[in-house]
Each structure stands twice: as C-alpha cells, then as structure tokens.
Symmetry: C2
Subunit: 224 residues, 2 copies
DNA sequence: TGTACATCAGTGAACGCGCGTTCACTGATGTAC
DNA sequence: TGTACATCAGTGAACGCGCGTTCACTGATGTAC
C-alpha cells in the first residue's frame, strides 16, 4: 500500500481539485468543465477519468472538501478558553469570512442545486452535520434555557440533536443553532451576491448589527 | 399605435416568457435555452429574436416580471386595515409562499448570479426597491423607535430610505427592514434547497418560530 | 542484477449532443393611395 | 373597392463553439522471479 503510484495518484487528484476550484472561482458556478480543467493542468480531457468517475464524482469531492475546510475554520475560531459570547461572535465572523473569501465554494454548499446532482446524499449530510456541531458546541457553553420548543418541533429537534456526536444538546439549544445558521446564511448569501452594496449599505456594519442580535438570541433565558 | 401587429407582438412576447418560466421550473436554473423555448412554442430558434434582442434581454424581462409579481403578492398580503403585527406576519408568510410556489423564479431574483449577466442593473435595483417598499410601509405602522443606528450605518440607511417613495422612513426602521429581509431570505433560501427537510425538520414550524421573532424585532422599542 | 511481465497514466479520435447567434430569404398581412 | 407596396413574422442553413464520455491504443514504470 501507499506505493509510489498511490502517492502519485493522490497528488494528481488534488491537482485536479485545485484546478477545479480555481476555475470555479473565475468562470462562475457552472463553468466546471472536465475538458477545461484538463487543459489547465496540461493534460487531455479523458485523462481525468483516471482520477474521478465523472463530473458528479468530482463535484462530490469538491463539496466534501469545502465542508471540511469550513468546519476547520469554524473550529479554529471557536477557541474553548473564551467566554461563550466571544466564541459565538468569533464563529459567526469566521463563517462570514470564509464565505466572502470563496463565494463560489459557499454557493457549492448552500446555493442553487446543480442540474442532475443530488446535494443531499448521505455523505454530504454527514459533512454538513459536522459543521453544525461546531455551532452547537459553542451554544452548549451558554446557560441552559428552561422553555422547550412546542409541539412537533421539539421531537424533531431532539431527533436531529441526537444524530450529532456532541452530547447533551437540548432541543431548545438546537433550535437556536438552526435559527442562528439561518440568519447567518441570510446575511452572508445576500452579501456575496452584492445585494447590500447595490443598496449603498456597508455589509460589515449590517453584519455586526446582526451578530449583536445573535448573541442576544443565544443568551436569552426563554426561547418563546 | 397598438395596431393588430403590436398586439400580436406583445402576445407572443408573453408566450415566450411563459414558456421560459415553465422551462426554468422543470430544467433547473441554467436550462434557459433559446432553442428549447422556441421548440416548446412550436417555432424555430431564430424566430425568438423578433421579440428579444438575445438571451440577456429575455432574462432581464423575466427578472422584472418576477419582481413585479412578488411585489403584487406582498402588497395584497399587507391589507392596511389590519394591525401592524398581523400585517407583518402576513407579508412574511406571503414572501415565503411565493418563493415556495416558484423556487426557480426566487433563485432568479436572489440566487447565484448567471454567467456574464449583471444582476444589479439600474432597472433591476428599482424593481427590488419597489418590493422593499411594501415591507417598509408595513414597518411604518409600528410605533416609532427612539434609538438610531450608530455611525456610518445611520447615514447609509438614511440615504437608502430616501430613494424610496414611501415617506418618513427613519433609519432605524430601514435597518429593521433590511434585517427582516435578510432573515426571511435565510429561512426561505435554505428551505427551497431542501436543507431543513434533509435535517428532518419541518420548515413550517421553523418559519413560524422565526416570524414570532421578526414581529418582536419590529415591535422592540430600542434597536440596540 | 537482469529480464519478463503486469499495471496503469495518458493520448487522440470519435460520438452525439446542445448552445447563441447571423444571414439571406419566403410569404403572409396590414396599409396607403 | 381594388391594387401596389411596405412591413415584418418566421424559416432553414450555417458558423464556431463547447460539453461529457467511450474506446482502442501507446508507452513508461513499478514488480516479481
């Protein structure tokens, strides 16, 4: 195992993915072309089939990489030593920073679906959950809240929280996590499409204002 | 003016747009193909150039229509007779309902940019502002808030609010409007990409929970 | 250490497809005298 | 009311391009005896 050829294979696989990401950054979302990637790394089209079964396979690899990458960034931002409020701020900021640094990859994760590609495959959902774990971990640092979500939502959130390895996530905390994510995504996705700029508003200031509210949401004693 | 030929032209233009929207709904985002549309309405490809200068021209028409359509839906939901809280709830729900009924058109408005197409052309920004006017109009029905946004944001929001025809939009109200939109977009865009479903969570319940918070945001006395 | 063989990266041609757009043209239809 | 003309919707062929994928093949490189 891990002979010379294996190592070469992995190196090439990485090179292909790098070229793909670079091309994604320049050419827009659906500029992901096997032939163009091959050209960029100085190889003929069909050669890529040595490394990926096809376009979808490459796409899956890119998405998994992106999830991993973002999870790493969020984890690094959430230094356990800090106060929960500071950690939450840091994670929120890291989320936005990551998205702004590479909007094309962010779109790959949460943007419009690609034609004929199932973005909710099991492997991908797992990767997304790992990302959410970072958020939940930070939220667990806040004081426990008394009120539980009402009705079906309570059960659904409990079930969802159970699939995460982080222990003891109360449904109320899970709800805060989802809401938090939703609000972050709202801000960030509008920002990367330049919607705020076209309104003459500074995304930095809007984001800061929203983060204040997010911290308040996480700190609130009751969820109702 | 408005002779037989003119009326025929407009009728055909509408037919082309209808086919385009239908095709957008089925074939995904970038399935917008001149040739395919032509085929659907039983005409040869180049014939469409009688009605639209090209792909981008058609796209612009579709986006403007979508803005107009959504604005109409929101306006209808915001019956002036109701209490401001009820109006806000109704507008938020209408926003979500519209997006869920035609996710492809929602993506056209706020989703990923299309390659080589400028989504922030003047005409489009105008159309977006008209949509926001409905939200601002509803927010104006709430009691005035004392605190103003801090620093540059205050000036930017004042300037932005001035471009809207609705009179007397305080910068604090404008900020609530933008925040509201951002949160709605977060929920709705995650929902239409099936992200909540893949987590086992009911989007209805999550949305209801977020709307409660939106009403609270609009009703709060201070913005800090 | 040397030789025979198996492995496998990469090639070039080809398949069938679809795209937006241009061009010269036909033929119907409305309009002006 | 009838005729001549201008307008304009729509056609079919063509341009040049790019796409993902398959296939039979070459040639280098690692491996086993």
């Amino acid at each position: 195992m891990s002979g010379v050829r294996d190592r070469f294979r992995m190196q090439m696989q990485q090179e292909v993915k790098d070229a793909a990401v670079r091309q994604l950054a320049e050419g827009g979302p659906q500029a992901l072309s096997i032939n163009a990637i091959a050209k960029e790394i100085g190889v003929s089209g069909p050669a890529l089939y040595r490394y990926f079964a096809g376009r979808d396979d490459l796409l899956t690899a890119l998405i998994l990489d992106a999830y991993r990458d973002m999870t790493t960034a969020l984890t690094a931002a959430a230094e356990p030593a800090q106060a929960p409020e500071k950690r939450l701020e840091a994670v929120a900021t890291a989320y936005r920073t990551w998205a702004n640094a590479q909007p094309h990859r962010y779109r790959l994760l949460f943007g419009a679906p690609l034609p004929g590609y199932d973005a909710h495959d099991g492997t991908l959902v797992d990767a997304a959950q790992k990302m959410m774990n970072v958020v939940l971990d930070v939220l667990a640092g806040f004081p426990h809240r008394a009120a539980a979500p009402q009705g079906d939502l309570n059960g659904q959130l409990t079930a969802w929280a159970r699939t995460h390895e982080v222990a003891d996530v109360a449904p109320a905390t899970a709800l805060v996590g989802v809401t938090l994510w939703s609000r972050l995504h709202g801000m960030v996705s509008l920002e990367i499409e330049r919607n705020f700029v076209s309104m003459g508003l500074d995304p930095d200031l809007l984001f800061t204002s929203e983060v204040v509210d997010l911290v308040r949401l996480a700190s609130a004693d009751d969820a109702q």
